[in-house]
Symmetry: none
C-alpha cells in the first residue's frame, strides 16, 4: 500500500483534493489513456496537492489498470496520497460480498472516497431503497474499509438540494459515515445549482449542527464553482475538491488553479508547498496538453491573457505602476504581464511592448511616432499585431533601421489547384526566388494551396539556409474580416483575410501575421515574416 | 436623440447593462468592425437588456461611427437605451471646452457612463492630480451632461481596492457624482481581485452609508465575476454590468448569460422580458460567431455541454427523472439536455431538428438511424451542422430520397493563383460543368481563389438557372480545425478546414458548410450546397 508524507505547510489540516482523473475525465471530449493518467498524476503530485483521486477501480478497466500500475511503482508519489473512488455496497448485499467494494481494496489506494446519496428523493427514486438501508450501506462500507486500514472520505451526492428538501435525512447520511469511521464528509453540489451565499449558509449550518470535518465539491453550472468553493472554506470547510482547469461534466468543476490561487493570494492559506505557486501556469498548460484541449487563454491566474492589457487608457498608467493594474504580481503564479498592441493603444503601449522585446524606444521618439502611425494604418487595413509579436518586432526593427535584409527575395509564385474529373483534389506550387545570389525555381505539392506554397519555398531555400530544416509550422489560423463586407457587399468571398502563423524551431515559438484580399497571399506574407524573424535571430541586427 | 421604453418586468428598478461593445471588445482577439457592432447591438436589444454601452465616441473612430450610424437609424432599438462611455473632463480644463466630453454629447446617446478614479493612489499616481480636483472633475462633467438632458451613470474605477485603502476618498467620488446628478454609482472591481464575501460586505456598507443606487461591474481574475455580481445584488445592487459570454480584458468580465440565468432562475428576479430567457443559448452562440470566437462548449447555461451527461452512473435514471440531474430545465434557457455515448440523444435532437425543418422523421425510424450515423461520421471528420441548417436539410432529404438531382454536375475545376514579378496577385478559375444536358466551360477572375471559383461557376450556370442572379454570398467564414493537428503535427497548414457560407436571395438567408483538407475544396463544397439548397426551394421535393 502506498503511503506518503504530507508536506504542505498546513499539513493535514487543510486538504487540496484533485479529482481531474475521475470527475475531470467526465468532460465531453476528454478520454485519458492509462499513460495519460500516470502523467497527470505525476504533474499533480509535483504541484504538491494532498490527494489525487485516480478513478473508479473495478468499474472502469482503465482505472483498474491505472491503480495497478501506480501500485507497481510506475509513479512514485512524493506529496500526494492516491485515492480510489467508489460506491457504497449495494442495497441488500453484505459488504464483504460486494465485488465493487472488493475492487476498492484491491486498488491498494490508501484513501477511499465513497459516494453516497444524501437527497431523500434520490434514495427513493433513483436508488429505489429507503433511508435506513441507505444509511446502513454507508456505515457498513465505511467501517469495512476503515477496518482494512483505509482512510475514508464521504462524497455526499446532491447534498445541497437534499438538505433544502429534507435536512434530517441528509444529516443522517453524514452521521452514518462518521459512525463508520469516515473522517471528512464532503458536501457535493452535484447539480451545480448553488450560489455562494446560500451554499455557505448550509456549510456553516452543517458544521454547527454536527461538528464534523466538512469538505466541498462544486460543479460550475451557475459559473460559481470557484466562488462556491471559496465561500465554503470561509464558512469552515477544510477540504476542497477541484479539477485541473475546471474540467468536468457539463459546465465542469471548480478549477484547481483558481481555487488555489484564491486561497493562497487572497485568503493567505498556504495550501500548497511554497515553491508550487509559481508552477501553476506551467502545470495548467501541461495538463491541457495531456487532455488534448487548447488551454483557455482567458482562464483566471494561468491563462495567457490573464495579465494582458489592451486598453490605451490603462497602458500609459501601467508603464508607471504595474501593480496598480494587476490584482497580483503575475510572477507569483508563473505567468507574465503582456501589453497588447492594438488600435486602442498608443505610444505608451508600443514603448512598453518594445521594452518587452528588448528594443528601447524611449531614446527614439521620432521612430516611435512613425511606428505608431504605421501600426494604426496597418490595423485600419485589417492587420492585427496583438497576437503576432514576431511581425511587430520586425516592423519595429525595420523602422529603427536595425534589420538586415531578408535572406531571400521573391520573384514570383504560382499555385495551381485542380479538382480532377476523378474527384481528386491536387495543389501544386512553384516559387521563383533569389537566394545567396542565385535564382532558384522549385515546385512542390501539398494538401492545400498554402501547404504547397510552404513546401515549394522550403525546397527552394533549404540549400541556402542551414537553419530552415528545424523551423516548422505549429499552427495556422484564418480570419475573414467581416468588417470589409460593407465595402464589397456583393461577395462574401471577396473580403480581406487575416492569417496568423505560429512557427517553432524546437526551442522557441513565434507568431506572424499576413493580411490580403487573397488568402494565399496573406498566408505567404505571414510565412515570409516567420522566416524573416528566424533569420533575424540567427544573424542578430547590426544595432 | 434615441429614446425607447423599458419593457422588462422590473422596469427601471433593475438594470441589465451590457458592455460587450466596449469592455468586451478589450478581449484579446476581438476586433469588431462597425457592421459587427451594429449586429451585436441588434441581438442584445432583441434579448431585452436595458442598456447597451456602444463604445467610447471621440476616443475610437470606429465607436464614433457606430454611434453616428445608430443615430442615423441603422439600428432601431426596441428595448435598450444606448449608452456612450467616456471619461470626466481633464484636470484643469473647463468641462465645456473638453473635446472628449463634447464627443459624448455629439454621440446623441441618451445615457452616458462616466469612468472616474475612485482609488486615491490612482488619482495621485496615475492621474497626477489631487482628490479635490478629481471630485470637481466628476461633479462638473456629470452636471454638464445632465443639464444637456443625458442620464448619467458613474463607473467608479478600482473602487474596492480604493475603498479598502481610503474609504472616505472613494465615497467622496461617489458623492460628487450624485451631487452632479448621476443616478447610479457603479462600483467597479477593475483589477478583478475580489471574492464574493468581501465584495458584498463593501457593497452593503456603501449602500448603508450613502443610500445611493449602486451598480456592480466585475472582472473575472479570481474566476468569481459572476458570483461577485450575484453577491452584490444580494447585498443591494440593482444595476449589473456584464458582457456577452464574459468577453473582456484579461480573464474577462461577468458573463451576461450566467448572470441573467442566475438572477432569473435562482433569485427569481425577472430582469429580462419573460420570453427572452429561452433565447439565451441562441444569442450567446450568435454573438460568439460575430466575435469569431468558438463558443465555449462548457459555458454555464448556454454551452453545448452545459446539460450533457456522460453515460455512466445513472444514465437510465436521467432518462426517467431528468429533473433530478439538471439544476434547471435546459429548455428554460433554450439549451438541450444530451446524454453522450448513447444513440438516443442524437436521434431525439435530429428528430427535433427535422420537425423544425418540416421533415417528419418519426415515421421513418430506419432513415433516422442512417442520418444519425451519417451525421456522427461527418462530425467526427470536422463537419458541424450546428450553424449550417441548409446543409443538414439537404442531408436529411437525400437520406429520405426526397431530393431532386442537383441542377448541375461538376466535371472538374482548376484555380491558378499568380504572384507576378511586378507584385500583382491574380486569381483565375476555370470550371467544367454539365447543366441542362450541356457541357459548359467557363473561366473567371477573382480577388482570391474562392471568389474566382464562385465567379466562374456563376458564369457557367447563369444561362441555365434563372434564379441564380438573385443569389448572393452574404458571409464566408473559415475555421482551421486545430484538433487535427495531432495527426499531422509537421504542418499547421495541413489541417482540416471548415468553411461556412451564408447565402441570400434577397428574401431568405441560408448557411451551408464544407469541410476538406484543402480550403478551396471545402469552400467549393459549401458553395455547391448553397446552390443545391436554393434549387430545392425553387423546385420543391417530390415528397
Amino acid at each position: 500500500m502506498l503511503r506518503s508524507p504530507h508536506v504542505t505547510p498546513l499539513g493535514d489540516s487543510f486538504h487540496v483534493y484533485d479529482t481531474t482523473l475521475r470527475d475531470g475525465a467526465q468532460r465531453e471530449g476528454i478520454s485519458y489513456s492509462v499513460t495519460d493518467k500516470l502523467a497527470v498524476a505525476r504533474l499533480l503530485d509535483s504541484l504538491g496537492v494532498g490527494f489525487i483521486e485516480g478513478g473508479w477501480p473495478g468499474a472502469l478497466p482503465k482505472d483498474t489498470e491505472f491503480f495497478a500500475r501506480v501500485a507497481a511503482g510506475e509513479v512514485a508519489l512524493k506529496h500526494a496520497q492516491l485515492v480510489a473512488f467508489g460506491s457504497t455496497r449495494r442495497a441488500g448485499v453484505k459488504v464483504t460480498e460486494d465485488p465493487q467494494v472488493k475492487a476498492l481494496l484491491d486498488s491498494q489506494a490508501p484513501v477511499v472516497t465513497l459516494v453516497a446519496k444524501s437527497d431523500r428523493r434520490h434514495v427513493e427514486r433513483a436508488l429505489r431503497t429507503d433511508v435506513a438501508e441507505n444509511c446502513a450501506m454507508v456505515r457498513d462500507t465505511v467501517r469495512h474499509l476503515v477496518e482494512e486500514g483505509r482512510r475514508v472520505f464521504l462524497d455526499a451526492e446532491h447534498f445541497f438540494d437534499g438538505y433544502a428538501f429534507d435536512p434530517d435525512t441528509s444529516l443522517r447520511v453524514l452521521e452514518s459515515a462518521v459512525e463508520g469511521g469516515a473522517d471528512v464528509v464532503v458536501l457535493c453540489d452535484t447539480n451545480g445549482g448553488q450560489l455562494p451565499l446560500g451554499l455557505s449558509e448550509t456549510v456553516a449550518d452543517v458544521i454547527a449542527r454536527t461538528g464534523f470535518r466538512v469538505g466541498i465539491h462544486c460543479q460550475d453550472d451557475t459559473s460559481c464553482a470557484v466562488a462556491n468553493t471559496i465561500a465554503a472554506v470561509q464558512a469552515g470547510a477544510t477540504h476542497v475538491q477541484c479539477t485541473a482547469n475546471g474540467y468536468g461534466e457539463r459546465a465542469g468543476n471548480a478549477d484547481l488553479f483558481a481555487v488555489v490561487g484564491n486561497l493562497v493570494t487572497k485568503l493567505g492559506l498556504q495550501v500548497l508547498p511554497h515553491e508550487s505557486l509559481a508552477e501553476l501556469t506551467r502545470v495548467s498548460h501541461a495538463l491541457a496538453e495531456i487532455a488534448n484541449i487548447a488551454p483557455d487563454t482567458h482562464q483566471a491566474y494561468v491563462g495567457s491573457s490573464a495579465f494582458a492589457h489592451k486598453a490605451g487608457l490603462h497602458a500609459s498608467a501601467i508603464k508607471v505602476d504595474p501593480e496598480l493594474y494587476n490584482h497580483i504580481d503575475p510572477d507569483t503564479v508563473g505567468n507574465d504581464m503582456r501589453v497588447l498592441v492594438t488600435e486602442m493603444a498608443g505610444r505608451a503601449s508600443l514603448e512598453l511592448k518594445g521594452r518587452e522585446l528588448g528594443i528601447d524606444l524611449t531614446r527614439r521618439p521620432e521612430a516611435l511616432t512613425n511606428v505608431v502611425r504605421k501600426v494604426k494604418e496597418l490595423e485600419a487595413g485589417g492587420w492585427s499585431f496583438e497576437a503576432a509579436d514576431a511581425s511587430l518586432e520586425l516592423l519595429l526593427k525595420a523602422e529603427l533601421s536595425e534589420l538586415d535584409e531578408l535572406p531571400f527575395r521573391l520573384e514570383s509564385y504560382r499555385v495551381v489547384l485542380d479538382h480532377r474529373p476523378d474527384g481528386a483534389v491536387v495543389s501544386e506550387a512553384t516559387v521563383k526566388v533569389h537566394a545567396s545570389g542565385e535564382r532558384v525555381i522549385a515546385t512542390a505539392e501539398g494538401n492545400g494551396p498554402v501547404h504547397a506554397l510552404d513546401a515549394a519555398l522550403r525546397k527552394a531555400l533549404l540549400p541556402h539556409l542551414s537553419w530552415l530544416d528545424a523551423v516548422k509550422l505549429n499552427d495556422y489560423k484564418v480570419r475573414i474580416l467581416a468588417g470589409t463586407r460593407s465595402t464589397s457587399a456583393e461577395h462574401g468571398t471577396d473580403a480581406v483575410t487575416r492569417v496568423l502563423v505560429e512557427s517553432t524551431d524546437g526551442e522557441q515559438e513565434w507568431t506572424t501575421v499576413g493580411v490580403h484580399g487573397n488568402i494565399v497571399e496573406a498566408s505567404w506574407l505571414a510565412l515570409c515574416d516567420a522566416l524573416a524573424h528566424k533569420a533575424m535571430r540567427v544573424s542578430p541586427s547590426r544595432a
